[in-house]
Structures are given as C-alpha cells and as structure tokens.
Symmetry: C2
Subunit: 443 residues, 2 copies
C-alpha cells in the first residue's frame, strides 16, 4: 500500500531557494515558462517566468545540447544549469543553461506582447485575451496586491475576534430589493442573486457578535461606468455592542492600517513592480455630509443643487478638499440622508432626516458604505412601514430582532475598487480578473 | 475636525481579559446577551452569552439596584460587578452584579430552547429559526470549526506560494455543462451560475502557477440526500509544474495536517464543546479504484455490479475497509474511470479507460475530487471531440492552452461536507449556515 505523508521537497528550486547565500557556482534545476528570448548572437538570454518573478537564464551553444529555437515564448521548461551572481540580472542571479527538458510547447505565437514591461494594449484586448494578458508581470502584480488586501482584511478581523461566515448567494429575497436584482428560477420558485450579505450578517450578529464575509455580490445595475461592475467581491463585516457608528469607522481604520503594513511587509515586490505609493491611513478625517457639501461649495464656488444627494463630481471635490487642506488620502463622510439609505439604517435621533452612517472616500471615490443598524424590533417594523415596504419575505430577518439583538453596525468594502484606487488605476476592470459588466459575460 | 486613528481600547472586557491573573476582586464592566437565568430564590445565576463563550454572573437583590425580572432571555446588557474566582463556573470565574444597563429587550420569548446544552429540536425547526437556533452554544461551535478549516486551507496555501483568486460566478458557460446548471438572464443574454471555478483556475495556472479560491458554487441537482446541497462553499486549488497527480494528493495531505494542527491550537474550545476527536492525516493510504472495488468485494462478499462506477454503499465500504485494515480515517481512491470524469481530466497513458485522478474519502464519504488535467492544446481538443462536446463557448479557455501551459492539476473540497465529517454529523444541513436544497430557499 502506498501512503501520502504530506508535501515532499521539490528538486526544482524556486527563486527564494536560489537566493540563498551559498548557491553561486552550484548546479541547480528550475522550472518555468519562457517569458522572452533575447538572442544576441553569441549568447542568448532566456527569461523564465516563475510564480515569484522573472529568472534570467543564459544560453550559449557550446555549453548545451539543444537548439535555441526550441525555446518558444510560452513553452514550459525544466532546466538544469549553473547559478552565477550577476548584478545586472533580476534578483542579481542568472542560470547558465546546460540541459533543458521541454514540458510543453505552445501551438501559436502570443497574441499580445506580454513580455514587454508595459503592454500598451487596449483594455478590451486585454480582457478578450484575459488568460494571456495577465501573464504580463505588471498585470499579474495587481492581483497579488488584491490578495494582500483580502488577506489583511481577514487576518485583522480574526485578531479582533470576528467569525468568518458563508451566506447563500441565491435566495428568495435580497437585502434592498428593487430593480437591480438578477432573477432566476430555483426549482420552479422565483429566486434572486444577493446584492449583499447584509440581512444574513446582521442575523449572525445575534450568534457570533462579530462576523465577516468575503464573497461575490451581484447588482443588475445598468450603469456602464469605469467604477461599476455587475458582479464584484464584497468585504463585509458586522459587529455588535457598538457605542455608535464611530466604532465601525475605527475598526475600518484599524483594518486599513493593518493591511497597508501587510502590503509593505509581504507584497513589496508587487508594489515595486507597479511603483505604488501607499496611502496614509494613520489619521482619517470624518466630516458630516452636509458640512462636506458646504465646504466644497464654498472653496470651489459650486452651487449645492440638492442638499440630500451627493454627485460623483462632489465626491471627487470632497476628496480634493481633504487632500489639499489635510493632506488626507481618505475621508469619512458621515450622516448620510435617510432617503439615500436602506430601511435597516439607524436614523439620527437628533435629526431623522439623516442617518448614523458613513461612506469612506479614497481620493474622492466611495469605497465603503457602512453605519449603525436598527436593532429594536418595533423601530425596524416602523421603518419598513415608513419606507412603504412590506414585511413579506423578511419574516426570518425580523424574528431575529423579535428575540433580541444588541446595538450593532457594519460595512461593505468593494475589493476591486479599493484595489483600483490603491494602485492608481482609473478603470475597475483593470483590477478584476474576469469583469462582468453590461456587455461582458465572457471569458 | 474629528479624526479616526484606529481601534480604541474598550471599557467592557472580554472573557480573555477577565481571565488575567490579577483580576479577582476587581470591579469590571462586561456586555453580553442573557443566555439563561437560573433563579434559586436567594440568589440567581445570570448566564451571559459572549462571543468567546458563556460568562456566569450572580444576582443578589441586596447588592443591586434593579429587578431580576428585567433580565429576559435574549436581552442585550452591559453590566458592572466584581469578579470572583469560582471553580464551578465556566472558565472558573463569575461576576457579582452591581449595576445593569439594558441595551435592548426581546419582544417575545425564545421559540427554541437555545440555552439547553443539546436542544433536541428537529433539523427542520432549527433551519426555520436559523438565526435563533444558532445561538445555541453547540450549534454555533460547528461554524467556528468551519472557520478553522477555511482559514487553515488559505494559510497553508499562502505558505506554499499559492495566489488567491476571485473568479466570476455568473458566466456564459460553465465547466462541465449539462443539466445541473441554474440558468438566468443577464441583460438579455442567457447565463449560468458556475458549478465550479474549474476553467478559471486552470486559466490562472498560466499566470500565477499556483492558485486557490474559496467561494460558492451552484449545482441544480435534483438530489435530496443528507450529503448534497444546491449551493455550497468549494475550496479549490490548482498548481502547475506537477510531476503527477500524486503531487496534488501530497498537497492536500499537507493541508489536512496543517488544518488539524490549527484546530488543535486555536479552536480547542469549539472542539471540546462538540467533543470532537480529530482524525489522523499523518499517513493517508492511496488505492486504485479497481483495486478498492476488488478489496471490498472480497472482504464483504459483495458482487461488483459495474466495474466503472462506485456506488455510495461501496464508498462507505472502502472507508470501512481502510479503517479496519489500516486504522485510516482517510483514503485516496485513484484512477477513476474516464467515463466518470470531465473532459479536462488527463487519461492514464497506460490505460485510457482510467484517468490520473482521485477522490479523497473521509470515513467512507467523498470530500474531494481532484487530479491531473490535460495541458496540451491538441490533446484537449481531441478529448472534447471524443466526448461529443463542442468547442463553442470554450474559445477563451482553449486559447490559454494554445499559448502554452505547464503540466498541472488541482482539486475541489466541499467545505460543508468536510465540516460535517469532522464533527461527526450525518446531515450536511447541520454544518451549513443557511442551506439551499430542493425545498429550501429561505431564510
């Protein structure tokens, strides 16, 4: 009988192994994909793409037993050679090739110039050949940073005693209802895709007190902008026993600080590849919605058209104002109008035209919506009635409150938007592996 | 201007704070939900439910300024009192109540006996009152263990240099096609919910070499069994430059070992609450499909009805065989018949009626399907044709291979099933927060 006992040491080395002190002059085996071949005549540089980065290999006919022509861009190789230090090479090392084993060959030449530092390819072409365009070093680095953001979110919340949950994406009813729902048939019953895990995470506050989820949400919005997707990854948390919605903003600030440190520590390569300057989250200003409108109206000489709405241009100006006046990358805008918030938002007892809620703007773009929720059963029913909604389909949600719930609140962060702002892209499709928008359902 | 600077120290203490050495005799503030009140006449025990566990508080009329009747089951409280050590109490501490602030009161009595150690409530009742039933200590502990499994999966794979990805759940086509797809309309285009991230994760092997995803998958199967859900959480990984599918089994074994250690270290409370004996993953036997069938047929005197299929009863017997003969909790069954595997599975070059693939059985139930995939473009096209399929809708997937892919493979693990087996439940709905099955779309 054969037994599996765990991961075994691998003969082929990774870049981190090659960088060990005493490797110079040693014969090593490595594998990787041919990223580029620069044939200089007497010598050729074969650049291998590996999961950690690029590795320079040197081909000289006299040292080897195969033809350079076999090394096509996209070929998967295993090769053996001598490691030499060379300051000019990536990571300061190169491999002088002796033997090559070709694991697989491409059938056609690459449709995009993925080995270039910047591809200068249209977004459409990049999305049409998604599994190819992402092989570019800069393209893939974006998603390493995206990984760091999600990982930071989870690790920070674990440290704050949140419990991770998995809530269903198909349901009979969704959090906010309305027109922007994708509908489907579920074994002869009408069903929808969830716009948000909102109702579920609130229900779970009564169980775990603090919960989070990182998962897909679906919005059938007919927007076609640079900042909207119809499916995106939402980073959600919800926490009980809060003193006010400020506790939610404090927790988000803590997450941002933790995540930025994690990126610095563990994702330095990707940050360097993309030349990212990380924002400062040590101190984030918080300003009331009405006050923010007044400030930008005065400073930028702009009329307030609707005191209960914030236009994208106004968001951008608020971002600009706080960058200019406070050198701030982020700003919390608080006390959004009740009309603009869903039924579960807690109204401000001092002025019920506003809510105890906030958005977080990052360089003038909303990346988070959050706030305190109603926890009193009767208040919740009254609010549902006042919004002209029915309780139908909300019975389970409401029963949670009927049987007692602590004061609580939470937020949702759009992962792709946060990634976009962090690396300075201006189209959310650049930071989405396989975007779903009005016209794109493939690949 | 007000500024947010991160998480502030909280006045109300958590159980871990209360357990510090020098706390006895001190006045402390805590918050929590009334889990149970045991009125003994002269004294009453008020059990608070907190996120880390239960906390015993003692009410004596002479010490306090409020009426015990106010402390209803489900009320959210903040209270102040003196901490005393008491070996009989949970965690060995109790709080002598002085003042109480009621943060919220329930409107109705609890519909289920959630404060009992075992509720003895039907599964249906538990699912109908999901946000209530999970407040039971044993019910919620199941999901702490589930968290540990996912967390272990991710942390182990990060350590093995996998990149986390987020692939779309709505698409034009899914991995395996067929009848078990949920269909929807996506802005006037036909669309489906993904049965698996299979095609996407393979496409991303060409980019990141090693990738994983933890997310929902959707199967419109008309099964109504104890082990099937129509939406579940899939733990998926895919890795390049493998020597064979044994590398995938080795990686999974490594994950199981890591995850079991994490559970022991960080989830000891939940394991104890559920009285879980963790399985042994130090050494997992691997047996061929045909050999496994022969072994159980001989030992249990059972006819082999179909040599190319494995019935659930046979799976259970294979589990039993390896438990009896090798004291093994897990067993890898390898070389599944080609007919039973999807088009992307790599056939065994030595006998193409079988594939280079495996299932992992845990006490006789399949919890993982994995294997090596075809990486050669022409071989893949030939296999698609041989299966009688069309390439329509697979263009993007196929172009990945056209431009070069390393040998690779991967697996998918059903999170709820693994949780179910780990804690010894026999219905997958017990380890799903909000199950989706043929008859259940709510809550």
């Amino acid at each position: 009988m054969e037994f599996m006992t765990g991961v075994k040491p691998e003969e082929a080395l990774e870049i981190r192994d090659l960088l060990a002190e005493d490797m110079a002059g040693k014969t090593v085996k490595v594998n990787g994909t041919v990223h580029a071949v620069n044939d200089m005549g007497a010598v050729a540089f074969v650049i291998l793409r590996k999961r950690e980065g690029l590795l320079q290999c040197v081909y000289q006919e006299k040292d080897t037993d195969f033809d350079l022509k076999l090394l096509k861009e996209g070929a998967a190789l295993k090769l053996e050679g001598t490691l030499e230090k060379d300051e000019r090479a990536p990571h300061g090392i190169e491999i002088r090739i002796q033997h090559v084993e070709i694991l697989s060959q491409p059938s056609e030449a690459m449709p995009l110039p993925i080995s270039k530092w910047k591809m200068n390819t249209s977004l459409d072409a990049k999305l049409n050949y998604r599994s190819i365009s992402l092989r570019n070093i800069r393209e893939r680095a974006k998603f390493k940073i995206q990984e760091g953001i999600v990982r930071g979110f989870r690790d920070f919340l674990y440290s704050q005693e949140f419990t991770e949950i998995h809530t269903p994406k198909v349901g009979a009813k969704s959090a906010e209802g309305g027109a922007n729902l994708f509908r489907l048939e579920y074994f002869h019953h009408p069903a929808v895709l969830q716009q948000s895990p909102q109702l579920y995470k609130q229900m779970m506050v009564g169980v775990f007190e603090r919960v989070f989820e990182t998962g897909p949400v679906f919005r059938a919005e007919k927007h076609n902008t640079k900042r909207h997707l119809n499916e995106y990854t939402s980073l959600d948390f919800e926490m009980g026993y809060i003193h006010g919605f400020e506790d939610i903003m404090a927790m988000e600030t803590g997450f941002l600080q933790y995540m930025l440190e994690l990126l610095k520590r563990e994702y330095a390569d990707a940050l360097k590849i993309l030349n990212v300057t990380l924002p400062d989250a040590s101190k984030i200003p918080a300003v009331r919605f009405d006050e923010a409108k007044r400030l930008v109206s005065e400073k930028y000489d702009r009329k307030i058209r609707n005191p209960f709405d914030l236009e994208p241009e106004e968001e951008a100006l608020i971002g600009r104002y706080f960058q200019e006046e406070y050198n701030a990358d982020f700003v919390f805008v608080t006390h959004y109008p009740s009309k603009k918030r869903p039924f579960y938002a807690m109204d401000d007892p001092e002025d019920n035209r506003y809510t105890l809620s906030f958005d977080l703007l990052y360089h003038g773009l909303e990346i988070t919506t959050g706030g305190q929720r109603i926890h009193d059963y009767q208040m919740l029913r009254d609010k549902i009635a006042a919004k002209g909604m029915t309780e139908e389909g909300l019975e389970q949600y409401l029963s949670t409150f009927k049987h007692g719930m602590p004061p609580h609140g939470g937020l949702g962060i759009g992962l792709e938007r946060l990634t976009m702002k962090l690396i300075g892209e201006d189209n959310i499709r650049e930071t989405t592996l396989f975007p779903r928008d009005l016209s794109r359902l493939e690949p």
